[in-house]
Amino acid sequence: MGKENSRRSFLKTGLASTGLALLASSKANAFSLKNPGRDAKDARYIGQKGKHFVMVLDLRKCIGCQACTSVCKVENQVPSGQYRTFVTETEVGVFPQVRKAFLPQLCNHCENPACVPVCPTGATFKREDGIVVVDNTVCWGCGYCISACPYDKRYFNKKTKTADKCNFCAQRVDKGLMPACVETCIGGARVFGDINDKRSDVARLLANFPTTVLKKAQGTRPQVFYINLDDRVTELFDTTQDLDDMVKVEQGFEREWMKVRKEEVNNG
């Protein structure tokens, strides 16, 4: 009987002390609904309150020079062979009615992102100014957000070994600068700003031009808007035919994932 009692009291003490320890540690932010940076209200995590950043891509002005692609890699130290933004180059129409069409692509900083709610570590989240960011000191690299993004705009950064993507150059925006790709865009096709400021360029463009977003049916409400987007270009997203992919052929494939060779598809 005495033995029973001592065991019971041991269990009770154990449970009580574990409970207390848990309580104490949660006060010290050891357990968090979000992540340490957001709990500490770090400005980089909270963003600029009251603002809502969006990008407008005026495709009438894009000349496919890839200046944005390159400057992004420099500004954000994106490893070789990986991209936060790139411009897809296509030809549409049949000779003699043929023209080139360009589609700059980047993270859409969706209002209702598919990537954020699936993150099991809270490493990726939406700042109060609408910018979706990844905390690469928290991310454990499970890849769920990469699978969830309907726009394929996330990848594993080879250097940090975490999920990575466009962050609208938040490090620049927080200092009052434009994202690097906007700054460098030769034709002025990339326009960035606070949509809540009715005098901003983005607010004026959105008010005056019909715009559209990519993959509306996904319900993610993208915050990157396109002017003059041709359906024939987005149709390429879904096509399963293997079309020429010259840049990648020249650069070599990723280690594991690659394009099925044209012959295989045709013979299959």
Binding site: K34, A114, P120, G122, F237, T239, K248, K259, V260
Partner: protein, 392 residues
Amino acid sequence: MDSMQTLISSITIAKPWGIDIPNYFWFTGSSAAAFIISSFAHVFGWKKYKPIAGISLLMAFVLLVAAPLNLVDDLRQPGRILNFFMYGWENFATSPMKWGVLLLLAYPILIFFEAQALYRPYFVKKAQESGPLAKIFYLFMTFGRTNLSPEALARDHRLGFILGAIGIPLALAVHGYTGYILGAVHANVMWHTALMPIIFLASAMVSGTGLLLLLIPFFQRFLSERRKVDTDMVATLATLLSWFIVADLVMRFLWLTFSLTFADGEKYALYSYFQLHFMDTLLIDYLLCLLIPLIIGFTRLKNIPAVVYFGGFVTAVGVWIFRWNTVIGGQTIPRTTPGFLHYLPPVFGQDSIVSVLSNWGILIALICLVLLIFPWDEEMIDCYKGAEHAKQ
């Protein structure tokens, strides 16, 4: 006018999940199936399954201990595992991965305690027979309860029943959540179906039964004192396997008819995927790995053990291929760049063929370990004796 689009340049997208993930899904699924089969006896009281209930429970345990190692290997930052437990709890409702890790922790603990309740009397006997060192170990495994009175045994039985009853929904959840992981991804045409958890469960029952059909006769023939395969049990499991295949085929039929025929515009991508893989899917996955074992279990062929082992083997392999086709195949479908992607697992390194083989090595080592520790053979022989006694 016909329009024509040509892609001049874009980038090739790298996808996140490789060979570890289908292997992980196969392990958890087979574990859930083994647990359900053990519960046939422990919870539902079907005496026919009593002799294999213990060993099935142990197999469910080892499969689930080995399974999460695939996930750890898949992580790009495995050193940050603690971040999972500490941060991001606001995503609990929307991230099936969050549920999964908790299930993966709770489920093997539950199985362990159920197995302990089942084998406790045998541990007591072992402790009485063994030398001093082994005695300490076996006494530890009894958790200090050495009482063998009918009341104490009844208590073990009740505990086994309760844990088994809690375990059934847990086993279904531990594999069902993997279906949620894929089904929740609305960006992926192949994965995004509400049927995914049920399809995964149905195919899990197939692979788990297939695996038990290979392991149990092997243990009985070579590792048990009886040195005899229970051919009636083999035939029973073969028929059970056939019923699970029926359930699996029904689920897959529902899934494919809706996603290929009655779906919206996204069906075309899936359509071309299956066009590309038509012959290997039809011949290997459906004909060889499902239809042939189905016929074996429903005909007199089930009385020929060698044929049944073949059926068990091909279903286990077939479900692995199905997991591969779903996880890898789903990722090959283009979302933002034209043309299918292609995946070749690397031979060495993280997420590679060698890492999956190592995982299987760990599974085999764990099987050896539990077979050494748990007195499964004595328990099984007692069950057979009990069954023969009941017949007389």
